[in-house]
């Protein structure tokens, strides 16, 4: 064991070093997504294909129009959003909990990277997977229907904000989780029901009054509708309110995530 030299100063200022650190986390997350593509990219593609085939094509033909569009066109934005939500959340919760479980989160905790940047790195990884899967599902949707885009900027803003919200949600879940059961609890018992009841497959105008009012307390309804408005120009909710809710959720969840890291919840004794 030999061949050592004197320590070398790290080039660049603090901003440069932080940027390199952030990029390293994102590249590591992206590599993980690609390395386990059979778990990250293929299942949502198969699920989306089945949804489009069964709900859109077979059942959708009997349903007729919804909001002035074919049923397939109506549910396509919702199905894309559903995959973005599930995958943004799933990436961060499994990656961060895996890092806690395997203890390699300590690599980051001992490093000079500030906590907010560690949160941002993991969340960016979740957004990358969410958008990647969203793109795959969009391409699949194009096999079944023509996607009309009314407001491209709103489509992009809605998908990005939604992805951020659920990546942050996944991060918080992973911070608190003590075992693998606890990282599947929220997606199974909270996220999936809220997504299905969030207007992915129907307009809440079809619901009785009490159910319509109840649906308005579901945050996913606003995200799906903001996204659908970007595509089709129709929405069950006020689009301005939907974007306000998403921006507020991102700010609150990010602040909460950083606070948890500063406090050391679930990661420092």
């Amino acid at each position: 064991m030999s061949g050592l030299e004197q320590p070398v100063e790290v080039p660049g200022g603090r901003g440069d070093r932080r940027w390199v650190g952030f990029r390293t986390i994102v590249i590591r997350e992206f590599s993980r997504i690609v390395r386990i593509w059979g778990q990250t990219l293929v299942p949502p593609a198969i699920t989306a294909t089945l949804y489009f085939l069964i709900f859109g094509s077979l059942i959708g033909r009997r349903i007729g129009e919804m909001g002035g569009f074919t049923y397939m066109q109506y549910i396509a934005p919702g199905l894309i959003m559903m995959s973005v939500i599930t995958n943004s959340y799933g990436n961060v919760v499994s990656s961060f909990f895996g890092a806690k479980f395997g203890r390699h989160i300590e690599e980051l905790l001992v490093s000079p990277l500030p906590n907010w940047l560690i949160v941002l790195g993991y969340v960016a990884g979740g957004v990358v997977r969410g958008l990647l899967v969203g793109l795959v599902v969009t391409l699949i949707a194009l096999f079944f229907t023509r996607l009309h885009v009314e407001h491209l900027a709103l489509v992009l803003a809605a998908v990005l904000l939604t992805s951020l919200v659920f990546a942050l949600g996944g991060f918080i879940n992973a911070v608190f989780a003590k075992n693998f059961d606890q990282i599947s609890f929220v997606p199974t018992f909270i996220l999936t029901p809220l997504t299905y009841l969030g207007g992915v497959f129907y307009s809440i105008a079809m619901l009785p009054d009490w159910a319509r009012h109840l649906s308005r307390s579901n945050p996913i309804l606003y995200m799906v509708n903001a996204f659908r408005y970007g595509f089709l120009g129709v929405s069950d909710v006020h689009v301005g309110l939907a974007f306000s809710i998403m921006v507020a959720a991102v700010a609150i969840l990010f602040a909460f995530s950083v606070w948890l890291m500063e406090k050391g919840t679930g990661i420092r004794e």
């Binding site: 064991m1 030999s2 061949g3 050592l4 030299e5 004197q6 320590p7 070398v8 790290v10 080039p11 660049g12 603090r14 440069d16 070093r17 932080r18 390199v20 650190g21 990029r23 390293t24 986390i25 590249i27 590591r28 590599s31 390395r35 890092a99 395997g102 203890r103 390699h104 300590e106 690599e107 980051l108 905790l109 001992v110 490093s111 000079p112 990277l113 500030p114 050391g264 420092r268 004794e269």
Partner: protein, 316 residues
């Protein structure tokens, strides 16, 4: 300059366990320092606090003059940690682990790749650079953790039992490596259960027990405090009973050898002369225990004595 300075460092866990009860410790720049103590003494807690893996209850920590409460990033940049447990991603390639770690310290990838080559060569892991880390042997995993801790070239390297479970050949080569980086300027703090390792490598030592520092001095000074040593004498003809020699306490060993305790005031010549006079021939001799081990046990056992307080070696 102090590489590490701890003042009144305390840690009480949520369970109420007081792991550290107000530790003061200084490690000088360039030192090779041993931090010893029995299991549960507080060593790993103290290291965890320095490395930001454990939150302190009170007290101050500074690394090369950077207070962790005020200049955490600067303090962390000076520090490299080799933890007790394997804690790298076992699904990643060896070189990827090091490149990523360098990235977390702000080292760009092209610079990181050069450093990875240097440290993997230095730790004899270059041939394994593309191997998935979980396929490495135990000794290789330990060396990978050392390479990872060094890839950002820290001024202070803390190793928490780095040679646990590795064979003697690998352990010796790791000792040589650590001596070399220490000679080149890296300050090293080592915890180990192999007291021979601490005695062989370290110039200064602190012994921690039940959350308190009970000894902190130069290694040579601490060893001088050892009042007596026990030697094992192997005989040409195994003894049936321990002979009685005036002034010496002899015991019969399991294989017919003799164990004799020799204090600082006595000489070995006297024993050999007395044994020769009785026709007993000694063919070889060894220390019953490593000197540091002997001292360590006396210090820790002294704590269990009636007073319940640690005693010095001289009084043990």
């Amino acid at each position: 300059m102090k590489a590490l300075s701890l003042r009144q460092l305390r840690k009480t866990y949520g369970t109420g366990v007081q792991a550290l009860k107000g530790i003061d410790l200084d490690v000088e720049q360039g030192d090779f320092f041993a931090l010893l103590g029995p299991n549960g003494a507080g060593k790993t807690t103290a290291i965890g606090i320095v490395a930001s893996l454990v939150t302190k209850t009170s007290g101050t920590v500074s690394v090369f003059g950077h207070d962790v409460d005020r200049e955490l990033e600067a303090a962390k940049a000076c520090l490299g940690l080799v933890p007790q447990e394997i804690n790298f991603n076992q699904f990643e390639k060896v070189s990827t682990i090091l490149v990523n770690q360098a990235g977390f310290y702000g080292i760009p990838r092209h610079v990181a790749k050069e450093r990875v080559e240097r440290w993997l060569l230095a730790l004899q892991l270059w041939d394994k650079r593309d191997a998935i880390s979980r396929t490495l042997s135990g000794g290789m995993k330990r060396r990978l953790m050392i390479a990872r801790a060094l890839v950002h070239e820290p001024r202070l390297l803390i190793l928490d039992e780095p040679t646990a479970g590795v064979d003697i050949e690998v352990r010796r080569s790791m000792w040589e490596f650590l001596r070399q980086i220490n000679a080149e300027g890296t300050t090293i703090i080592l915890t180990t259960h192999y007291l021979e390792e601490a005695e062989s490598l370290c110039r200064n030592i602190a012994i921690i027990d039940e959350g308190r520092i009970i000894e902190n001095d130069r290694m040579s000074t601490v060893l001088r405090k050892l009042h007596s040593e026990v030697f094992v004498l192997n005989l040409r003809t195994p003894a049936a009973a321990a002979p009685e020699l005036p002034g010496y306490a002899l015991k019969l060993g399991a294989d017919g050898s003799l164990e004799v305790e020799v204090t600082k005031d006595q000489s070995l010549n006297g024993i050999f002369a007395a044994l020769s006079a009785r026709g007993i021939e000694v063919v070889s001799m060894r220390n019953k225990a490593n000197r540091l081990e002997e001292l360590f046990l006396r210090l820790v056992e002294g704590r269990d004595a009636a007073t319940g307080q640690p005693q010095t070696a001289a009084s043990a």
